[in-house]
Amino acid sequence: MTVDLAPLRPGGLRLAHPVIVAAGGAGYATEFLDAVAELAPAAIVTRSTTRTRRHGSRPPRMAMQPGGLLWSIGLQDPGLDAVLRRHGPRWGASDVPVIVSLCADSAEDIGWLARRLELAPEVAGLELNLACPDRGRGGLPIGLEVEASELATVAARAATDLPLIVKLTPVAPDLREIARAVAAAGADAISAIGPLPALAVARDRDRALLGTAYGGLSGPAIKPVGLRAVYEIAQAVSVPIVGIGGVASLDDVLDYLAAGATAVGLATAALADPTLPGRLALELEAWCAGHQISDPRELVGTALPRRRDRGSLRQGPWRL
């Protein structure tokens, strides 16, 4: 059941199975690892971490919506050094690889963070969160533009030999060109998608519900958007893809693999049940056994078209 998220990198980023916890689904992994015992995810991506201490978003921060979760946690972290000091020992003591998600608004900070991780043997890899704002572009998300995405990836790649996953934001209209650029710039793998920008209204309708007004939508509601993203990216690049968005059942895992993902990540569903990733892996194993499939890689990309398609935005006559 093993998969490798960095097959071309010496040492690789080998996972025991294809189901991981996406950023934010397990905080900094410590409490999460304590809670799951042997039903462990194949890896944990931490919540996004910055260079210096931050408070995060103004409360309220979370609200359940029909089929989805709306949230704005922001960057509430004590800064990377403190994170490594507090949680590094627990990571080192665990068999579960921990991948640190980074958020920085300049190439310089990305480089600083990646170099710091390079020195931490308990870190299995890093994920670069392209939903973070780009200081040079007035705070627009890095992942909205090809060039900014490429520069950010280069900055991380140049600073470390650790396996590097780059996480795309679904706000970019054409994910294929971003995917091509970051793969060419040295990403070992691509993960997608992050949450959709969304909003809810407070009960009294005198303001937005979340303290930050805007939040991210995650959970089952966004699964068809995540599948679309993976299906497009898989036709654009050959690096492994971590499919994220609304995964909560074995069918979801199989759908993402069929759309071209090598592994899947879940955040929202892991908050309600930290053992879910581990259980999904067992279910997947049983399913494979029942279908005479020895290697889950046989399931990857089975739904992709034989010929490349034009992508969801270039469809000729209006289709949606």
Partner: protein
């Protein structure tokens, strides 16, 4: 604070009684929870799997350590409303106790408990605990109108019970904070739960009298900062914040409220807080 491996404990519904229309007091056989829980703590409902994306968080509204039972006060509008559909003998899985309970100072003899309709579930266990511990306790309830007043059978006989209704249809006419003034000299400590605006009003009262009330008088040395737990224990006003759903593991940070010393997680640092720990005017 180590939480057990995910899985929780089986609890069996053994009694259910209507408190108000749409609201019931549910009694569960759950010996291990009953042994460990403290007033102010809560449980997670793990199974039957609730319909929402996150697990509902339900305050423990009472417990009997000897009998091995806990009670939950569940409203059809609150988290865990699915429990109202169950029948005697049905089983669920509950994870807990979670969060930190109220800290009653050992020296406190007189406890004042203040709540509105939504806060009752979060303070009721404290009444039991106080009475068992031989303390005197007064509950002040504030609601809009007589129909929302909770019946007195819900409380231990030893507790004094006073009610304020906004429309004056029962008890004092007006906000419950009006009643607090009558009791503040008597009370060594005050514990509250309810809407943010109720908590804000209480905080204003408490702050105006800062350091002159109850046990707070005893613990403080001028110019010395107390450690957090001691500060909480000796605080005159403690509140239990609402918390509907979340990971309760401390990992999602979705339950965070603004604290005077930085963000605070309701599920871990709370749900009970000394009022001074919170920045009330910037909360929801």
């Amino acid at each position: 604070m180590g939480r057990q491996p995910f899985g929780g404990e089986v609890a069996e519904l053994i009694a259910s009684r209507e408190v108000l229309p749409g609201q019931r007091l549910l009694t569960w056989r759950a010996p291990s929870l009953a042994r460990r829980v403290q007033a102010g703590q809560f449980v997670h409902l793990l199974a039957p799997r609730p319909s929402g994306l996150l697990l509902p968080v339900i305050p423990v509204a009472g417990f009997d350590r000897v009998g091995g039972t806990i009670v939950l006060l569940v409203d059809e509008r609150s988290a865990g409303a699915e429990l109202l559909r169950l029948h005697d003998g049905d089983q669920v899985r509950l994870d807990g106790p979670l969060g930190r309970g109220f800290s009653v100072d050992a020296r406190s003899r007189h406890l004042l408990v203040v709540c509105d309709g939504s806060g009752m579930a979060r303070v009721r266990a404290l009444l039991d605990e106080a009475v068992t511990g031989g303390r005197q306790v007064t509950l002040l309830l504030g609601v809009a109108t007589a129909a929302e007043v909770l019946p007195s059978w819900l409380l231990p006989d030893e507790a004094e019970y006073a009610v304020a209704t906004i429309d004056g249809s029962l008890g004092h006419r007006g906000g419950v904070h009006d009643l607090v003034i009558d009791y503040e000299a008597w009370a060594d400590q005050c514990f509250a739960a309810g809407s943010w605006s109720l908590l804000e009003q209480l905080a204003m009262l408490a702050r105006g009298r800062d350091g002159r009330l109850g046990v707070a008088r005893l613990g403080r040395r001028p110019g010395r900062r107390m450690p957090r737990t001691a500060a909480r224990r000796t605080s005159w006003l403690q509140v239990a914040l609402p918390h509907e759903a979340g990971c309760a593991l401390g990992v999602c940070l979705g339950c965070v409220v603004e604290g005077t010393a930085g963000p605070l997680r309701v599920c871990r640092e709370g749900p009970t807080f000394a009022i001074d720990e919170l920045v009330l005017e910037r909360q929801p």
